[in-house]
């Protein structure tokens, strides 16, 4: 509520960085998301931030904008000597939008700008947002009194950006744009890139995250490459070539040999065919591409279309292994056994009553096969570590007799040992004739599949198999290599 007016930058502060990170580390439990990072961002800079999913990009910007606190190290704002990001003029355009859908543009601006009050605030807010939109996106055609919920996704994104660019009683000093063009078409994205360039020319600073390498090269004056929580490259933009950038991001070393020892499997008829996605009996089909490009949605749609919320058919046609355990998988109040047995309860039940002996037997068998580390399956599910919870979800799916197994990025936060166990299990089950549809954000994982569909912007951009199935090809198909005008 109290956003103090920004002080004019004195001459002595002209050269001080807007934000300085000193030896910053961020840990989530045992996972180190960001490891001893040092970074300065100065006025006039446009920093392109690239890296794989989970490389630490989001963590880094969350530390800069104050959404997360560092586990160790310091975040300072030397140029303004402000003690928090909001006062230092740091503004963020979040991936999940921070607009209230039930309010108009002007009203949303009012929420971001607490000092806007008194008679006629609505008119002034309207003028402010219109001016910002006009500057950024000439010819945008969005009225200041339109409700956000009536706008298209792209228009909402434009409004979100415009609000962060508007003065709001001060002046934005550092703008963090996290994939701002993901839902904009080429023309609008182009307008935004021009606006970013203007903003930096006028002395503002920008952190720009994008998977469109063309965009990065157009606007960035400096490129920061992140991998596994480290900054692995930080140089002026003209030191990079596109291919060089892809190489720095990805793993250069590849070990495809481990694959060849697996005996080739006989693939059967086509079992799944939906929106270009295809899978044959006994096949392990990978879905790849950058996170959030429609893979999870395609899998959820496939599953929901094939099953019913009313009928229960004995052996289900397919089962689902969730990667977002909390949202899609776990029953948080249940025991481990109850979480496992949900998929096959109905097939073993008599008179509608659970056959507890066979439930226990199947549970024990899968605990042994998949190695769930617990004393008894009666323990609550939340007593397990994340990796073991994920094993429970695998056990749930594989314990049923379903011929098709859908896996929605199931290896998030899972340790290496568990991964190896699961890879072996998946191969064994596929040999027995089960079909797997496997979305993973880790490229070396999908390289073990028989065939890989790469998604970009909600559609399949490439289908790779055999010798064409390499990490480099997947990366190439995930990133937009052309200029955004194309």
């Amino acid at each position: 509520m109290d956003e103090p007016a920004l002080q004019p930058t004195g001459p002595s502060r002209e050269t001080a960085p807007l934000v300085t990170l000193t030896d910053v580390t961020k840990r989530f439990g045992a996972v180190t998301a960001l490891n001893r990072v040092d970074l300065d961002i100065r006025a006039g800079e446009c920093l392109g931030l690239v890296g794989h999913n989970g490389a630490g990009k989001s963590t880094l910007v969350s530390l800069i904008n104050g959404a997360l606190a560092a586990s160790s190290g310091r975040v300072d704002f030397p140029a303004s000597s402000a003690d928090h990001a909001l006062a230092a003029g740091v503004r963020s355009v979040f991936q999940e939008l921070s607009l209230c859908p039930n309010l108009s543009l002007a009203e949303n601006l009012r929420i971001a700008h607490a000092d806007l009050r008194g008679w006629g605030w609505r008119r002034r807010a309207g003028a402010e947002i219109e001016a910002s939109l006009d500057t950024l996106f000439p010819g945008h055609g969005i009225a200041a009194d339109a409700l956000v919920e009536t706008l298209s996704i792209a228009q909402r994104q434009m409004v979100e950006i415009a609000i962060r660019f508007s003065p709001l009683g001060g002046a934005p000093k550092l703008l963090i744009l996290d994939e701002p063009t993901s839902s904009l078409d080429a023309g609008i994205a182009n307008q935004l890139l021009e606006a970013i360039t203007r903003f930096c020319d006028d002395g503002g600073a920008v952190v720009f995250i994008s998977h469109m390498l063309g965009e990065i090269f157009r606007v960035a004056s400096r490129i920061l490459v992140m991998k596994d929580g480290h900054i692995v490259a930080d140089e002026a933009a003209d030191h990079f070539t596109r291919q060089g950038l892809v190489d720095v991001m990805g793993h250069v070393a590849t070990a495809p040999e481990s694959d060849s020892e697996a005996s080739p499997r006989q693939l059967g008829d086509v079992l799944v065919e939906q929106a270009g996605l295809q899978a044959r009996r006994g096949e392990i089909v990978g879905l790849s591409g950058l996170a959030g490009h429609g893979q999870a949605e395609a899998l959820a749609r496939l599953y929901l279309d094939a099953t019913s919320a009313w009928r229960e058919t004995g052996t289900p046609p397919m089962v689902f292994v969730a990667g977002d355990r909390k949202r899609d998988g776990l029953l948080p109040l249940g025991s481990i056994l109850h979480n496992i047995s949900l998929s096959f309860l109905a097939t073993t039940a008599r008179w509608g009553l659970v056959d507890r002996a066979s439930e226990r037997r199947v549970g024990d068998e899968w605990q042994r096969r998949i190695g769930i580390r617990t004393q008894t399956l009666s323990n609550p599910i939340l007593s397990l570590s994340g990796g073991n919870q994920q094993k429970v979800l695998f056990a749930r799916a594989l314990a049923s007799a379903a011929p098709i197994v859908i896996m929605d990025d199931p290896m998030r936060g899972v340790d290496v040992g568990t991964k190896q166990d699961v890879y072996a299990l998946v191969r064994a089950e596929a040999t027995k004739g089960r079909t797997f549809l496997w979305y993973s954000t880790e490229t070396e994982e999908v390289c073990q599949c028989d065939r890989v569909f790469v998604y970009r912007n909600g559609a399949i951009s490439a289908a790779l198999s055999g010798d064409a199935l390499t990490e480099a090809k997947i990366l190439e198909a995930s990133f937009e290599m052309q200029e955004s005008e194309a």
Binding site: S98, C100, N102, A112, L116, T150
Partner: protein
Amino acid sequence: MTLFSRYRILLPIASLALLLAVTFYVQPRTMSYFGLNLLFNLAVPIALATIAQMLIIMVNDIDLGIGAFVSLAACVAATFLEQSPLIGAMIMAALILSYALMGAMIHALALPAIVVTLGMSFVWGGLALFLLPSPGGTSPAWLRAIMTVKPPLMPMALVAACLIAGVTHWLIARAGIGTVLRGVGGNADAVRRAGWSLVRLKALAYGLAGLFGVLAGMALVGLTTSADANIALRYTLLSIAGVILGGGEFTGGKVSPAGAVIGALTLALAASFLSFMRLSPDWQIGAQGAILIAVLAARLLFNGRDGARR
């Protein structure tokens, strides 16, 4: 997008106009100052209670205790406010404050509003029984005078309804703070990120609801001249129905103050209307339910595919 989903207020207005037209047709004598007064006689306290409920629904909660609270306010108005206005006013202020505290507590402890307000309904009801173990009390003369004043052209109930709609529309739909409060219902995270304190905002919403609940109790006593502990219990359900009839939704901060008042008028009119019909008066309640279902079904038709997403 259809006309009705663009202008959310049209459907409540259309429902009210239709009902009013039918009433006039069935009983032409109601088309007069006196007739209108009779039709909308009890609408003012219902409208105020509906606004109170709307303020709670606006921040994605629900209040199952507003009926008991209005009853308590009515009992205070018929006893303390009449006998010693200063103490009466202080009690009313304390009631409003306790509503604000309830809102802050619900947010700070992450309690389910539906249960807390339900529990509080027992408290309000018990306190009302302390004050008036049996029906009684007297309306303060000034309150009685306000509620029975005969303004020119339009009866008191309609003038008051317009006034309530105007004031709350300004407060919630126009003023900055009302906008922020609606923002809490729409996307609480965004409001928090912009630097607002959600606890304070929730307390404010609940406090305002308390204020309108108190006003509803006072208006009710002004009309009925006496009070009892159960006088307004049915307002809990009526107020929820009024908000939804007026185009509001349970989640997402989508509420309309003017719509809520119109919804309350519709409910009051439906009751009066059915007493004019040859239909048994026993059907009044059921007709209210049927009207509610019909309007909600109409909303679904008019809102079309937007609402059909699952």
